[in-house]
Symmetry: C2
Subunit: 391 residues, 2 copies
C-alpha cells in the first residue's frame, strides 16, 4: 500500500521535526517500508494525501480513560464560584466519580470507554496511557484494569495501562489501603500483566510523599514503570522523588521547585504537562519553558477525566501549549508524538522505515496550521498499523 | 415531521433556559408547530433524539469569515516570543491577510469560506455574523460583501453581513480612505443590500475615536446597524461612543472603563465577548462578570479569523467562558443563542411555536455536559429550517 502526494511529512527523526517535502510512503505488513521522493504512479491501493500534511499518529501519555457518571453539575458550580477543593470536601470531586464507577456495570464502562477512544481517534490519537483510579478498592482497581484490557481488544487505539493510587478511599483507613495496594494490587497487576506502570497522586488530599515513596518502591521492585502526579496544587517534593527513583514520568508539575527542572532533566524523567486541567480549573499553566530550557523531555497529555479535563483533543493541548505556555510548534509536535511515546516506553510517534505505520493525514498544508487552528480537529484520515480507519 | 424523545429541551424562552424535560417537537414548513409532552408514537419521518439534549442552533455574532492565506508562521513566531504588534509592525498581521485576500480568486475565497461554514455547522452553529475587512480598498470591501452574498446562497448557515472598517490601508492616505468609506462604501453597501451593519475597529493601529464616530454616523443615517471593535488592546472610549449612538453591539471590550458596563446596559448595546482572541494571544479575559452583573446583554463569538482566533467552535467559547470568565452554564447558553441572535437582529436562538426550527441534537443528556466537555464537538445532528443536515 502507498500513501502518495504527501506535501509535508513530519518524521520526528533527529532532534527537530525531521521534515520532508513532497514524498510518498510505501507501507507493508503494517510498517513503513520505504520513504519515496515525489509521487508514486497510481496504484489501486494508494491513498492520495492531496499535497497535505502527514504526521505520526498522536500519543497521549496521560488519561483517566475509564470512568462512569457525569460531573457537569460540579463544573457549573465551579463556574459560579466554588473551588475544586470546596466541591471535593462536600463529597463531590473524585469521590462522586468513584460512586458512579463502582455502581456501573462492566458493559457500561466498556461502552463509554470505547466511545471515548473513538473521539481520541477522530482527533488523530493512536495511543493513550490509561489509568485506573476511580474504584479505590484493591479489587475495584484490578477490575478497571481488566476492563481496560477488554477495551484494548476491541479498539485500534493502543492502551498503555497504569495502576493509579488516586486518593485514599472513604471507606478504608488510608494505612490499610496503602498496605494492601502494595501487598496485593501491585503484585496482582504485575502478575496478570494488567498494568505497565504504577502512578501515585501525591498532593494535599491525596497521598503523602512517604506513602508515595513506599508505593513506588514496591512497583519498581516488580519491574513496573513509575509515574507521579506531582506538584499540581501544592509543592510536595514529589518531582524530586520521581527523579531519584528514575520514574518514567511526572504529571502536571505546575508548582515545581526552582531546581526541579534540572533534576528531572538529569534523570531523563518525562514531564507530562496537562494544560487542559489548568484551563478547566483556572489554575496557572505548567512552566513548560523552564522544563524545556533545562533540557527536560516534555510531553503533552489531555488528562482526559470527568472532573478537571473532559476532552479527547490532544491537538487542542498543542494549541494551548503554543498559545499560553510559550512552546513553539516544533516543541508541541515533539511533545505529542515522540516524547509522549517515550514516556510510555514504546516506539510510536515517528515515521521511519521499519517502524509501525501509524499516521495522520491532516486537512492542512503545514504542521503549524494544525496547532493554530483550534477547537475542531483538522484530521482527514488516521492510519493505524497500515490500515485506514473509517469515521 | 417530528423530533421525539427529547430528554432535555432548552427553549431559551423567559429569562433563564426555558428548560423542558421529556418532550417532542412537531415541525411544519420549517417552523416549530407544537411542543408536545412525552413521546410521539412512531411516524415514518420522526427523528429520535434518544433521550438526549436538544437546543436552539447556536448563533455566532462575530466572525471574520472571508479571507485567504495562512498566518501559521506568525502564530509560531508569537509562540516563540514575538508580540502581535511586533509582527504587525513588521508587515505581518492583518496586512499579510490583506495581500493574500486581494490576490485570491473569487472561487478560492468562496470555496474556503464554504469549508469554514461546514465546520461551523458541525459545531452546531446555524447563523453567523460575517465581516468584510481584508481588502482595505473601497471596491475590495464591496467585492468581499458580494462574495459573502454568493456564499450565503450556497450554504444553509445564515450569514449576517457587516461592512468593516478594519485598519487604515497601506496604500492610501487614511483620511482619503475614511472619506471614501463614508461617501462610497457605506452607501453602496446599503443600496445593494450587501451589509446589515457597519463595524469600525477603534484601537491603536486601527481607527481613532473621531474617525469611528464619523463612520458610524454615516452608517446610522442610512439605517444600518452599528458595531464597534472596542477596547481590545487599549482603552479608547469606543464603548461609550457605541452606547451613545445606540450601537447594536460592541466587540471584545477587554479594556473597558469602570463605568462602561452601566452605560452599555442602559443603551442595551450587545456585548460580543471573544474569548478565543484572548486565548490565542495570551491577553486577559473579557470581564464578563462586570458586564453581566451590570445587566448587559452578553453574547459569545468565535472571532473566527486568520490571525488571532482561527476556530469555528462556538461550543469551545462557551467552555472558555465558564472555565475562565466565571460565566455560569446558563449564561453561556444564553450568550451563544438568544443574546447573539438579538445582536444580529433576528429571531433565531430559541425554540418556540411559530419560530423557525433551527435545532441541535447533542450527544449529551444535560446542557452543562456540552460545555464541560471541550475541544471536540458533541453535536449529533443539526436541523436547519426543519431539515436535518448530513455531515
Amino acid at each position: 500500500m502507498f500513501i502518495t502526494r504527501i506535501g509535508q511529512l513530519l518524521t520526528m527523526e533527529g532532534a527537530a521535526l525531521g521534515l520532508r517535502s513532497n514524498v510518498s510512503l510505501r507501507v507493508e505488513n503494517g510498517r513503513v517500508a520505504e520513504i519515496i521522493d515525489g509521487e508514486v504512479s497510481r496504484h489501486g491501493d494508494a491513498i492520495d494525501a492531496g499535497g497535505q500534511l502527514v504526521t505520526p499518529g498522536l500519543v497521549d501519555p496521560h488519561t483517566h480513560l475509564i470512568f462512569a457518571g457525569s460531573r457537569a453539575d460540579e463544573f457549573d458550580r465551579r463556574a459560579r464560584g466554588q473551588s475544586y477543593n470546596e466541591i471535593a470536601a462536600a463529597g463531590g470531586g473524585i469521590l462522586s466519580t468513584v460512586r458512579a464507577t463502582r455502581a456501573a456495570s462492566d458493559e457500561e464502562l466498556i461502552a463509554s470507554t470505547l466511545a471515548r477512544l473513538d473521539r481520541f481517534l477522530r482527533n488523530g490519537v493512536v495511543a493513550v496511557e490509561a489509568k485506573s483510579g476511580y474504584a479505590l478498592s484493591i479489587e475495584g482497581e484490578l477490575r478497571l484494569l481488566r476492563l481496560l484490557k477488554r477495551v484494548a481488544q476491541q479498539h485500534v487505539v493502543k492502551i498503555s495501562p497504569t495502576l493509579l493510587a488516586h486518593v485514599p478511599p472513604p471507606d478504608l483507613p488510608r494505612q490499610v489501603f496503602v498496605d494492601r495496594f502494595i501487598a496485593e494490587a501491585i503484585p496482582q497487576a504485575a502478575q496478570e500483566k494488567l498494568a505497565e506502570a504504577v502512578d501515585v497522586y501525591c498532593d494535599v488530599g491525596a497521598f503523602t510523599l512517604d506513602e508515595t515513596e513506599r508505593i513506588l518502591n514496591a512497583a519498581k521492585s516488580l519491574g513496573l514503570r513509575l509515574r507521579v502526579h506531582a506538584e499540581q496544587f501544592t509543592y510536595t517534593g514529589a518531582a524530586e522523588l520521581a527523579a531519584k527513583l528514575g520514574a518514567a514520568s511526572v504529571e502536571h508539575v505546575e508548582e515545581l521547585s526552582a531546581d526541579g527542572p534540572a533534576l528531572l532533566a538529569r534523570s531523563q524523567t518525562g514531564c507530562n504537562l496537562l494544560p487542559g486541567a489548568a484551563l478547566t480549573l483556572g489554575l496557572k499553566w505548567p512552566n513548560a519553558r523552564a522544563l524545556l530550557d533545562a533540557g527536560c523531555l516534555v510531553a503533552l497529555g489531555t488528562d482526559c477525566n470527568p472532573g478537571s479535563s473532559l476532552t479527547e483533543s490532544l491537538p487542542l493541548m498543542m494549541s494551548l501549549a503554543c498559545m499560553q505556555m510559550k512552546m513553539s510548534c516544533e516543541e508541541a509536535w515533539r511533545a505529542a508524538t515522540v516524547n509522549a511515546a517515550r514516556a510510555l516506553g514504546h516506539d510510536l510517534g515517528r515515521v521511519a522505515v521499519g517502524a509501525s505505520a501509524n499516521l495522520v493525514i491532516w486537512r492542512a498544508n503545514d504542521y503549524r496550521e494544525v496547532i493554530q487552528h483550534y477547537g475542531d480537529s483538522l484530521v482527514e484520515a488516521v492510519i493505524v498499523d497500515g490500515q485506514k480507519m473509517q469515521f
